[in-house]
Symmetry: C2
Subunit: 406 residues, 2 copies
Amino acid sequence: MGFDFKQAVNSGLPAASQPWDGFPEFNFVGGNNDADSLPIDSIADACDRVLRREGKTLATYSLESGPQGYLPLREYLVSKLKKYSGIDCSASDILLTTGSLQGIDLINEALLKPGDCVIVEESNYGGVLSRLRRLDVEMIAIPVDQHGMSTDKLGETLQSLRQQGRKPAYLYSIPTVHNPTGTILTGERRQQLLDLATEYDVPVFEDECYADLVWSGERPAALYGMDTTSRVVHIGTFSKTIAPALRVGYIVAPWSLLGQLLSLKTDAGSGALEQMLLAEYCQEHFDTHLSKLNINLKAKLDTLTDAIDREFGTSAEYTVPPGGIFLWVKLPQGVDTSRLADVALKEGVALNPGSEWSLQSDSKRHLRLCFANPDADTINTGIAKLASICHREFGVPLTGSNKARS
Amino acid sequence: MGFDFKQAVNSGLPAASQPWDGFPEFNFVGGNNDADSLPIDSIADACDRVLRREGKTLATYSLESGPQGYLPLREYLVSKLKKYSGIDCSASDILLTTGSLQGIDLINEALLKPGDCVIVEESNYGGVLSRLRRLDVEMIAIPVDQHGMSTDKLGETLQSLRQQGRKPAYLYSIPTVHNPTGTILTGERRQQLLDLATEYDVPVFEDECYADLVWSGERPAALYGMDTTSRVVHIGTFSKTIAPALRVGYIVAPWSLLGQLLSLKTDAGSGALEQMLLAEYCQEHFDTHLSKLNINLKAKLDTLTDAIDREFGTSAEYTVPPGGIFLWVKLPQGVDTSRLADVALKEGVALNPGSEWSLQSDSKRHLRLCFANPDADTINTGIAKLASICHREFGVPLTGSNKARS
């Protein structure tokens, strides 16, 4: 008689996964990137060089660098963070992680307990919302407009919480190329946010995963760089600028937090070869690669917005983002993007429904489209298909490709 | 005024880490491996080949393989597990993980809750003992002799638990090259263990991380391969056979458990480049590499036992292991290896004290020495130094290098 693992597993776990059956034909979900922009020859050259020079050190956990991760990559990050993010730090302030998701998990493990509340942007990264729900942490949502999180609303919320005798465990923000809206928090609002955090003695959790993907290259300094009160913990990643399947992210934090995060990181180190490759490649090539990548991503965004305008007309509302890999789209009243996502997936079109990416009351009218991975033909055909499915299911859009829909 | 993260972190967390200040000169801790055995040219060749052929797929989370990990590596594992472990499985039964430690964490998250009890070998992997303590799970220890876990004692324990109305959440075993004792559970005892697990309806968690490191190449089939009741979950790794800094492990399990583990694995995939490299390298080179590695490890073990015999004489008791990278040593009554480890570390000699690696009542007389990483000179000098420190602190050994100690 066989053992029944389904009866043996804990109750309350997320539903078990189904076996994977391949990518959908028109894939607008997740944070996949542009394969054609991946400079594979330079990456292979860098990998070969560093492996032949230092590969023997792979015989030791954490190489010769200790548990914070490959020192040359941390040293590269010191220069990159200074140049791009206005952050002045040293290699000892950085902990390399297995993707920025591990950073999020470590920070949550250190700072959150069930029943806590945290402040978050109203539309948000689905992976953070799902984690906070599983941790039984209350999310207090602040609206986002074209200048980022509303600091007026943030001030009101902090005051109201103080009146209730409550203090948020942290304030989480994606200030630069916000996920999913793509907005950039202005410099003025950054200062207001930090002033409020200081006034109410709340730590700030800054997620800068998309910050390098700004078409103009211009962006305010990171909150971590502006802060003078050691209250910011900052995370970033190479997933969006080099390749998501390389799982390398990082945490920058004062040692009073970083030392605790390090003791919670009981994984015997993050993947070392990927760290070695990134250090070797980025020192020489990151800046030129990023410029090219941003040109290619901008072109894909243009393709997507053209396709949406053509197929959805005025039924789709969006603000063109100044960077990133996502478009956040609002459809007419009556559309339920969770149902749309289910139906569309069966016909090969995958999208992220707003209910998983937002705490807004009208979240189910929204959807998130990643434009970085599909090529132009796939974007055009996929959006036409999506508009047709949406019309069939919800009666909108009424026209597409300048023709009335029957 | 600065923010005080030390006040903000949760209570009850492991103590914060201190900054790393380099490896000790005589390093016998952890599971570091033999750098000279690492065939870095063939590894670099394999890496270069797979990167130039398939590197563009790194632009997509989980490549083209889905969340269970790089398909060619899972396919290689199917053939390796059949050949080395007597396991008949398919690629869909395998989940690639970020080291086998992630496998342990996922399995624990699925199967354990505070207050549960589990059955473990009395001497054990420190990383498992510390995890179970943090999870507030009671460990019920079964003695290990030269044939592995005592199945007589296991039967008595299961019966006694049944009389108390208790059922272990799992039975954890390292049957092949046990950590730290190096013993191999005999084929007969394996069958007894499985029969008992079936009789008492307990799932079995088999950790085969060291199993390839058997000098003779001869070993019984894995429990997973012998089991006919779908009650075994099996983990393994490439850390001990290729390189520990490549964080690639795997879980083999029936889908009724694997699908649940997969939904708990919310890390957006494990490092893909390291999976690609291992698949490309191992298909061609694993068998010949393993033969050479085992010859080199055996030579280092001989160096270590010679050094211990010379420096500790009859003060050190051990059983020569048939494989692996560790020697488990027992010192005379009165020695406290936790204190010895503290004192020795200050003088550049690092070892794992028995109290972290065993639930035995005399655990503090034991110590674990990893012999794979230090070279012969380091082993000889380090053991001489250790014996001298031990004599100074505890009065034993009385002689060393055939001279009486003063």
